[in-house]
């Protein structure tokens, strides 16, 4: 794949019309880099507003441009680099309302000749995109759906994932808990579909790394427990002894009210308490401070995991285009999925795509409200190739058959 990408770059370079090179921007013309094409690389961005249930925390309302700001920052980053390589990137933004038709918007982008689409749609929305048959001129970056099924049964050759899967998030947490020797878990699952899937990922992680689920309960309380948690939670958490409570409450209906209220003095982790995330505002090592401040300056708010996933998707395209000096879709997409691809993602290790399911390999930070606690993979979880593949579905166990 790499060899052919190099060859194609070479061919593309030979074919550059002189007029094209002359038309390049003055700064670009100075450099010696192969000014392969002067074409604008257009990247589609697709999101849909979410109807959030009442009763959630009023402190941290998810921003309505979550993801979009990450994609915009990456376009700016790509274009700064593009000044020296003669490449220009543009974001074609399609932010849909709650009732918007994602499938139709996606079809319109594809019909417009766009080859890359970054999606922050949830699983149901992503299904609408995948209703369209696999195309050889299109690459979809999933930056919004953590559902493992898109990396397993519903995986596709034209689908990459920059958002970590639930399996990766649960594995990242599990490795840390095992390292701390907190092996007996009390699993509390919420009523939503995502909660059930997150709990399944936690069970899988327990089996992989040696955790034991010693108690399990479903939180079915439909009430807003803000005023009653002090009475409810101690009763709910009387389940015998355990080391840590793991909560599965992705949208935040009740999880925030568990810490400091459990019957026994035990910590809380999972979707609240100690959480594993793709990105967090508390990250400052590995140059993260630079990305945080650039993002803050542009968006006027902190970068979220979905922003980070959208940023990584657009930067991946920029990086592959710069390395291949090409705007040709097959060349860029081939390099991006090949062994030579590396993206510096401000998390200490280079990021790359797993060839078996299209998932972006990445370190996963474990954070509390205001500080990073640790970064997984943890020391001691070994892998013959890269420790990053100890998080999520590794090659031998992949459920992706395409």
């Amino acid at each position: 794949m790499t060899a052919s990408a190099v060859l194609m770059t070479f061919v593309a370079f030979l074919l550059v019309p002189l007029a094209n090179a002359a038309a390049a921007e003055p700064t670009a013309a100075i450099g010696q880099q192969a000014k392969a094409e002067n074409e604008v690389i257009r990247i589609g961005y697709l999101s849909r507003a979410v109807d959030r249930p009442p009763g959630l925390s009023t402190l941290e309302v998810p921003p309505d441009n979550e993801g979009l700001q990450g994609a915009r920052l990456a376009i700016a980053d790509n274009n700064t680099t593009g000044r020296f390589t003669g490449q220009t990137f543009a974001l074609v933004e399609r932010a849909l309302p709650v009732e918007g038709d994602a499938g139709a918007a996606f079809a319109a982008l594809a019909d417009d000749g766009i080859h890359y689409v970054v999606s922050t749609l949830d699983g149901a929305g992503l299904d609408r995109l995948l209703a369209r048959p696999v195309g050889d001129r299109l690459l979809i970056f999933n930056a919004g759906a953590p559902d493992d099924r898109f990396r397993r049964a519903d995986c596709r050759a034209d689908l990459l994932h920059t958002l970590p899967s639930r399996a990766m998030l649960a594995d990242a947490l599990a490795q840390y808990l095992i390292r701390k020797n907190w092996k007996r878990w009390f699993l509390v699952t919420g009523p939503e579909e995502g909660d059930v899937l997150y709990a399944a990922a936690v069970r899988r992680a327990a089996g992989r790394f040696g955790g034991r689920i010693v108690a399990e309960k479903v939180w079915s309380e439909a009430l807003d427990i803000r005023r009653t948690a002090e009475g409810e939670v101690p009763v709910f958490t009387q389940v015998g002894d355990y080391d840590i409570l793991i909560v599965a409450d992705e949208i935040g209906l009740f999880g925030e009210y568990l810490p400091y209220r459990t019957w026994q003095p035990r910590p809380v982790a999972g979707t609240q308490g100690l959480t594993s995330v793709a990105w967090d505002r508390s990250l400052e090592q590995w140059g993260a401070r630079q990305l945080q401040s650039r993002f803050q300056r542009q968006a006027g708010r902190a970068m979220t995991p979905v922003d980070y996933a959208a940023w990584a998707a657009v930067r991946s395209i920029g990086e592959a285009a710069a390395r291949t000096s090409s705007a040709d879709f097959a060349t860029v997409a081939g390099y991006l999925r090949g062994d030579a691809f590396e993206l510096a993602g401000f998390k200490g290790l280079t990021l790359s795509y797993r060839p078996w399911d299209g998932q972006l390999r990445q370190p996963i930070p474990l954070v509390t409200a205001r500080a990073m606690v640790s970064m997984s993979p943890q020391d001691g979880f070994l892998h013959p190739l890269t420790a990053l593949d100890t998080l999520g579905d590794d090659r031998p166990e992949t459920g992706c058959k395409r």
Binding site: Q32, T80, R83, F84, G287, R294, E342, A344, A387
Partner: protein, 327 residues
């Protein structure tokens, strides 16, 4: 004297005696910037102890001396300025506005043009150190970081950490003349004494590129491998080349080692264990000693160049970053 671990104290005390006996000719001053303490630590080379701690601006990182060592320039990143200190008194004698978030810089051999990487603005700012006016700004890639001047003063290079390029700047016209793509997150660059080669470290790529300056092309990529340390912890940052062209020393970040490279064959000869999160390096005047700043452990490791052995750790402030030696 700083605290030593009991088993090694006797050994190091012995080495210290030897060091003290031979240091008369080399005694200079080591100056370290402490990123999280907003101070400089001044170390006496003869006694290898901290003799002074000097308060400076916020988040001091890059530091550099002028040609005769009489003045020290300090990047106070969070104050968006460069501070100038008289090295005989360590008194602040001036400030230069440095654009947004200056991190590293390079001083032209003319002692006047100061090239500053502005990490948040994607530019290199050129300041005249006499008039303290900005005389030029050059657009570069995302997160400019490493800065170096060629020995003849004709070319300045900047590395951009997210664009992953070496940007070549002509010092006469203050314009960009070329760009060379290197591995992920290039952090530091240094020219060989003859000006024919440029060495550039790529922190996340885990490599050091040796670049032919005339062709502006990578001619060698040096990789590192240390038993028992995973490859992704090997993150090269600071580089020092000996004048005789024999060695290159590379600080390997969280691998907690300094690599010793044969600068002619590009083969890695040894890995020297230093403190945690080693950032930058400096050689003393006669190149008998190498100093490393170890960010996480908050100390400086002293390495004897003749034997390639670490001989002492000196506690300094929190997160020591830059280091220079005044003769």
């Amino acid at each position: 004297m700083s605290k030593l671990l009991p088993p090694t104290a006797a050994l190091l005390a012995g080495l210290l005696t030897v060091a003290a006996a031979t240091s008369a000719a080399v005694a200079g001053t080591v100056i370290v910037s402490n990123e999280r303490d907003n101070t400089l630590s001044v170390i006496d080379e003869e006694s290898l102890t901290v003799t002074r701690t000097v308060p400076v601006g916020r988040r001091p990182r890059g530091i550099t001396l002028n040609a005769d060592g009489s003045r020290l320039y300090v990047c106070a990143s969070d104050d968006d300025r460069i501070e100038i200190y008289d090295t005989s008194t360590m008194a602040k004698i001036g400030e230069i506005p440095a654009g947004v978030d200056p991190e590293q810089f390079a001083l032209h051999p003319d002692d006047r043009q100061l090239y500053i990487a502005n990490e948040n603005d994607d530019v290199v700012t050129v300041v005249d150190t006499d008039s303290r006016h900005v005389i030029g700004q050059i657009d570069v890639g995302v997160e400019p970081e490493g800065m170096a001047v060629s020995p003849d003063g004709r070319v300045v290079i900047n590395t951009s950490e997210t664009t992953n390029m070496v940007h070549w700047i002509d010092t006469a016209s203050l314009t960009l003349i070329d760009n060379t793509l290197v591995d992920q997150r290039p952090r530091y660059g240094v020219f060989t004494r003859d000006g024919k080669r440029l060495w550039v470290s790529s922190e996340v790529g885990g490599t050091v590129a040796v670049i032919d300056v005339d062709a502006r092309e990578v001619i060698e990529t040096i990789r590192f491998r240390i038993g028992g340390i995973s490859a992704d912890r090997i993150q090269p940052v600071g580089i020092k080349l000996t004048r005789d062209g024999r060695y290159a020393f590379v600080a390997l970040g969280p691998a907690n080692h300094v690599a010793v490279i044969d600068a002619q064959t590009y083969k890695v000869l040894d890995y020297l264990l230093v403190g945690r999160r080693v950032w930058h390096l400096a050689l003393n005047a006669d190149e008998t000693r190498l100093y490393s700043t170890n960010g996480v452990s908050g100390d400086v490791t002293v390495i004897d160049v003749a034997t390639l052995k670490p001989i002492k750790s000196i506690r300094v402030g929190r997160f020591p970053w830059g280091v220079v030696v005044r003769p």
